[in-house]
């Protein structure tokens, strides 16, 4: 195994048992190494870093207000460039789906448009989990949250597509259940100059309502059903990642109902919504196929 042995998160954090985000963070930091400055808005990740005086991570972290992740990262990059340290130190913004697709989108869009040399990683647990499971624009169709008691009526926002439209050199999706794939992607992204964007699906046991032991299994189902394809877009070239390659064939994909029925947040989902999930997955993969053929 060529994964770095050193851990950058100390055990004994405040995260829930079975949190996929902590696993994602653990492997992202392993890939990025010690010469990293992180900036984190209000999210579950703030909770991980702990209370005043003590910190669970061994790398430098700057906490910022909710809407300013992209702007704060731009500031760090500018100061590092001024000091001539920008080549050695990688600036990484790590935010939740609310801090990325709702509140932080203008700062992120601004930073991406300026071509700021940083990595933006969004761990997507599909709601505001830190404050008690409220709907975000990244919550999928039909999911129960505290603010959508009858199930969400709008589908999930496709953030990787929005960031791709900025013409940035690297966009990737990842999944906490495939840590080796995630590690490789962060390693690759570290050496690219310019804005790099990650969208990482992170299964959340209390918010999605499943047993903590099933975290990896549920996350894996998202990819195996074709709901969450893993890909990279490197300078406009679309590359399907290894774990997702075989799901180009519709027969190899598992039925989406298996993924939905494993989580209690989808317990009241209608037949119509399940059908629109099937259509969404079919359209999504048709487009992936078309992109792979036409490049």
């Amino acid at each position: 195994m060529d994964i770095v042995e050193e851990e950058f998160i100390n055990p004994g954090t405040r995260m829930c048992a079975g949190c996929a985000m902590q696993l994602i963070y653990r492997f992202a930091l392993k890939a990025l190494g010690p010469n990293t400055i992180l900036t984190v808005p209000a999210s579950c990740l703030t909770v991980l870093h702990g209370m005043q005086g003590f910190c669970s991570t061994k790398v430098s972290v700057l906490h910022t207000p909710f809407a300013t992740t992209g702007a704060a990262a731009s500031g760090i990059v500018a100061s590092l460039e001024e000091k001539g340290l920008a080549d050695n130190i990688c600036v990484v913004a790590f935010a939740g789906d609310g801090g990325t697709s709702d509140i932080g989108i203008q700062a992120l869009s601004g930073a991406a448009e300026r071509g700021t040399n940083f990595i933006y990683a969004c761990y997507d647990n599909e709601a505001y989990m830190n404050t008690g499971v409220q709907r975000s624009s990244s919550t999928p169709l039909g999911a129960f949250t505290a603010t959508t008691p009858g199930g969400k009526i709008r589908p999930k926002k496709n953030m990787p597509r929005i960031l791709e439209a900025h013409g940035i050199p690297y966009v990737a999706t990842a999944n906490g259940s495939y840590p080796i794939d995630l590690y490789d992607k962060f390693k690759r992204a570290r050496d690219i100059k310019g804005t790099r964007y990650f969208h990482i699906l992170s299964a959340c046991p209390p918010g999605w309502r499943f047993d903590p032991k099933d975290t990896i299994y549920i996350g894996r189902l998202a990819t195996e059903t074709g709901f969450w394809p893993l890909y990279e877009i490197i300078n406009g070239k679309f590359v399907l990642s290894q774990p997702s390659k075989k799901f180009l064939d519709p027969a190899k994909r598992k039925d989406i109902e298996q993924y939905l029925s494993a989580q209690k947040r989808f317990s009241n989902i209608s037949k119509q919504d399940i059908e629109s999930y099937r259509n969404y997955i079919r359209d999504q993969w048709n487009e992936i196929k078309r992109r792979l053929e036409n490049q």
């Binding site: 195994m1 042995e5 902590q22 005043q52 003590f54 910190c55 669970s56």
Partner: protein
């Protein structure tokens, strides 16, 4: 006056120190703990550094990549991911009382 100002600045510009167990001994969160059956564990059986799925998928990073793998029960939250992901079914959840 200067002393109190210093204290005030100390609080505002506090240095965060990395520590193990920032939230205390998180091992007390659950009484069920993963115990490895070394007769079934793949690295122990083969004597080679292989498998380590438990180390790979542990969110808390309490499992070591050694032969045999060691689990730090002081900080293990007992989520049970290692039990699910072990290909040899060598890990089981058992009641362990921690102080």
């Amino acid at each position: 006056m200067t002393d109190s100002k210093k204290d005030y600045q100390k609080i505002l510009a506090s240095v965060q120190k990395p520590v193990i167990g920032e939230a205390g001994k998180t091992g007390t969160w659950s009484i069920l703990k993963p115990i490895i059956n070394l007769e079934k564990c793949i690295p122990v059986k083969s004597g080679k550094p292989s498998c380590y799925n438990c180390w790979l998928y542990c969110p808390e990073a309490v499992i070591t990549r050694t032969i045999p793998p060691q689990i730090d029960l002081d900080y293990c939250k007992g989520c049970g991911i290692c039990v699910e992901e072990c290909p040899a079914k060598a890990i089981s959840m058992e009641v362990v009382k921690t102080e």
